[in-house]
């Protein structure tokens, strides 16, 4: 289990606001909308991944992990993106057992990122 402290300690480093600003072209309103969307979207992807593992459905696993990775990249969340890519690749292998083992880590990284989003952007980043 991840403790509340662990979440906080990594929260800032899990997001690269500069990447997010470049992608959105400095549109703060758009960025706020994306921030608001991420928790629900990621939860949807994690649930899809869980079901795919349970059903041994490789393609669905790959697709859901791919989408989660793409969402993470919007905020420059490289650690989460790396975890999601790993899961995406596992979806192409014959067994989903390894994926089941990596699911917890993926959840942790997702939670950390959501916590970082909650913390909001550093002062002076808002334009």
């Amino acid at each position: 289990m991840t403790t509340e402290n662990e979440l906080h300690s990594d929260a800032v480093s899990s997001i690269d606001w500069e990447v997010a600003r470049t992608l959105t072209g400095g549109d703060d309103a758009l960025l706020d909308e994306l921030i608001a969307l991420f928790p629900a979207e990621s939860a949807k992807h994690l649930e899809a991944i869980r079901i795919a593992i349970e059903q041994g459905d490789g393609p669905s696993l790959t697709r859901a992990a791919h989408t989660l990775k793409s969402s993470a990249k919007i905020f420059g969340a490289t650690t989460l993106a790396a975890c999601a890519l790993e899961m995406e690749t596992l979806g192409q292998s014959t067994s989903t057992r390894e994926a089941e083992a990596r699911l917890a880590d993926l959840r942790t990284q997702t939670s950390r990122m959501i916590a970082a989003l909650h913390r909001g952007r550093p002062e002076g980043d808002r334009q």
Partner: protein
């Protein structure tokens, strides 16, 4: 820009296909800056199919990896069912192969995932420019195709008109041929038998029906009447004048007494003047009344070339005209000349075709010398005819000669050309050569060969341009073989638009005949008596492109001009003018 046909509005419609709403938001944000009609978002290929079937989408931005139907499948389907939109593919590095695949399927561009708003905007802007280019090119192609079709239509109309003009020319030629036969029938068939006198005649019409006429009559037992006449002009009008002449010719008074030549011409003149109303129509004629017993001769001549008298002693005399041509003055008076013919004396009457044919045509002296020579009487006229027609290539005037000699022998009328002597009218095919030149502010245009409608607009433009620059314009027709009706009408317009400064010169007889046939009297009255020498440097007219509509307008204008000259012209060109007018009306509306 929401349709693949012409009803497309100017603003574009976009479709974003991605299962991640966050990516869709980024893409849509980039598209919003391009002033779209609509930005549609769907989350997989199946939903996209539905939208593409219902809407006219300009650009699709699609993910590759999606549930239900992925991007590649969607594009394959669209290639067949909705080929109009341009495609931009979103791809992460891991799906790069799939993106290359998509490009092979015809995608316009691809964007790395997640896409930057800015890059989306640039890629889609490029796609819209591409669409505009393709559309513009298609529009231009269609325009060219329409123009080509119109051009082909115009060409076929011109060809049709040409055929119509050719057909009319054939009809006119057929009429001329019939008129020639009728005119021939007016001539005396058999020489009368006159003891102690021989009469030789030779008659050859020009290339078309002519205006010469002659007759040898015995008004009573004591006299022989010899008459020769030449109607002004050429063609049917001149032939009709000959007919009129024959109808009005009277040798006896009401009591059956022989009329003296001055009386014959005076009465003929009065009758013809009453009948002939058109300006420029007149007849020259000479009447010789011979007392066959005494050899006394009385001659009256209405503007006709002189008769020539010779004696075996070597004397000769020109017997000139004794009054004006017939039909010009209402109450003309005619003097008489008297001569006496002894044994061996000869008297020659002839029409001006003998003198005016070509460079080697005989002079009066040549004719007198021929009469004085020892040449056998029966060969004399044939030899004179040969001399008169030597080195004449094209058209020539009618030629008529009457020779009377006091002495025994056989009289002979010859009105039939020998084999090979007959002049054939060949449609001239000499290519046209139009030249222009200027000398001391005096402009010159020359027409050589056969000039037709094809160059009429260029000639018209050149004439107007020269008239803007120069004070005078002389149009030289010395080497002109033929002018078609459009070119004739165009010449009429040029001359009559500036009658004070435009003149024609060196009109060949056949071209003059064309002018006369179409009642172009105005143009004829602007012919130089003294020819201006052409400048040393004459340049060919520029071969400028003339568009079909202007060419059509030129043909119409030329034929309208000709139609305005006489009622006959109006009827002659009625079909042509109407047809041209409706063509131009239609092209004006088109």
């Amino acid at each position: 820009m929401t349709n693949n046909n012409d009803t497309r509005s100017a603003r574009p419609t976009f479709l974003v296909v991605d299962d991640d709403p966050m990516v869709r938001k980024l893409v849509s944000r980039g598209l919003a800056d391009l002033d779209p009609e609509e930005v549609l978002e769907v989350e997989d290929g199946l939903a996209a199919q539905q939208v593409l079937l219902e809407k006219n989408v300009d650009v699709v931005v699609t993910d590759v990896l999606m549930p239900n139907m992925d991007g590649r499948e969607l594009m394959k389907w669209a290639q067949e069912h909705r080929p109009e939109p341009l495609w931009i593919v979103l791809s992460g590095l891991e799906t790069f192969d799939a993106a290359v695949d998509a490009l092979h399927l015809g995608a316009f561009d691809y964007l790395a995932k997640p896409p930057e708003v800015q890059r989306v905007r640039v890629a889609v802007r490029n796609a819209l420019d591409q669409i505009e280019l393709v559309r513009e090119r298609k529009r231009l192609y269609e325009q060219i195709e329409r123009s080509n079709a119109q051009l082909a239509e115009k060409v076929s109309q011109l060809v049709k008109l040409c055929r119509m003009l050719e057909e009319q020319a054939e009809i006119i030629q057929a009429d001329l041929n019939r008129a020639e036969i009728i005119q021939h029938a007016l001539l005396p068939q058999q020489p009368p038998d006159i003891d102690g006198w021989c009469v030789e005649t030779l008659y050859r019409s020009g290339s078309s029906v002519g205006g010469d006429f002659y007759d040898v009559v015995l008004p009573d037992n004591h006299h022989v009447g010899l008459v020769i006449a030449d109607s002004a002009g050429h063609g049917v009008a001149a032939a009709m004048l000959s007919v009129l002449f024959k109808l009005r010719l009277k040798f006896l008074d009401n009591d059956g007494n022989v009329l003296m030549p001055n009386r014959v011409l005076k009465s003929l003149n009065r009758r013809l003047h009453e009948t002939m109303s058109a300006p420029g129509t007149f007849i020259t004629a000479a009447y010789v009344l011979l007392n066959r017993r005494t050899g006394d001769v009385r001659i009256a001549s209405a503007g006709h070339p002189p008769c020539i008298w010779t004696s075996p002693a070597g004397e000769s005399r020109l017997l000139e005209r004794t009054g004006p041509a017939l039909g010009l003055v209402a109450d003309a008076r005619y003097e008489e000349i008297s001569v006496h013919l002894d044994i061996g004396d000869r008297l020659l009457m002839f029409t001006d075709g003998v003198l005016e044919g070509g460079p080697k045509s005989p002079t009066h002296d040549d004719l007198a010398n021929a009469l004085l020579s020892t040449t056998d009487r029966s060969d004399l006229l044939g030899k004179l005819y040969q001399a008169a027609t030597q080195d004449i290539g094209g058209d020539r005037d009618d030629i008529t000669m009457i020779l009377i000699e006091r002495g025994e022998g056989v009289s002979r009328f010859d009105d039939t050309p020998q084999p090979g002597e007959r002049q054939q009218v060949q449609p001239s095919t000499a290519p046209v050569r139009l030249l222009e030149g200027v000398e001391s502010k005096h402009a010159f245009l020359s027409i050589a060969g056969t000039a037709t409608w094809i160059r009429s607009q260029a000639f018209f433009d050149a004439a107007n341009k020269l008239l803007e620059r120069c004070g005078n314009l002389t149009i030289d027709l010395g080497a002109c073989e033929y002018l078609d009706s459009t070119f004739l009408g165009t010449l009429n317009e040029i001359v009559m638009s500036r009658p004070d400064v435009v003149h024609l010169q060196r009109l060949p007889r056949k071209i003059r005949a064309l002018f006369e046939e179409l009642s172009m009297d105005g143009v004829l009255s602007h012919t130089n008596f003294v020819n201006d020498p052409l400048p040393q440097e004459m340049e060919p007219l520029q071969r400028a492109e003339v568009d079909v509509a202007r060419q059509g307008a030129r043909m119409l204008s030329a034929h309208e001009t000709l139609s305005s000259l006489s009622e006959e012209n109006r009827e002659l060109f009625l079909d042509v003018v109407e047809s041209l007018r409706s063509d131009l009306d239609q092209s004006g509306k088109g």
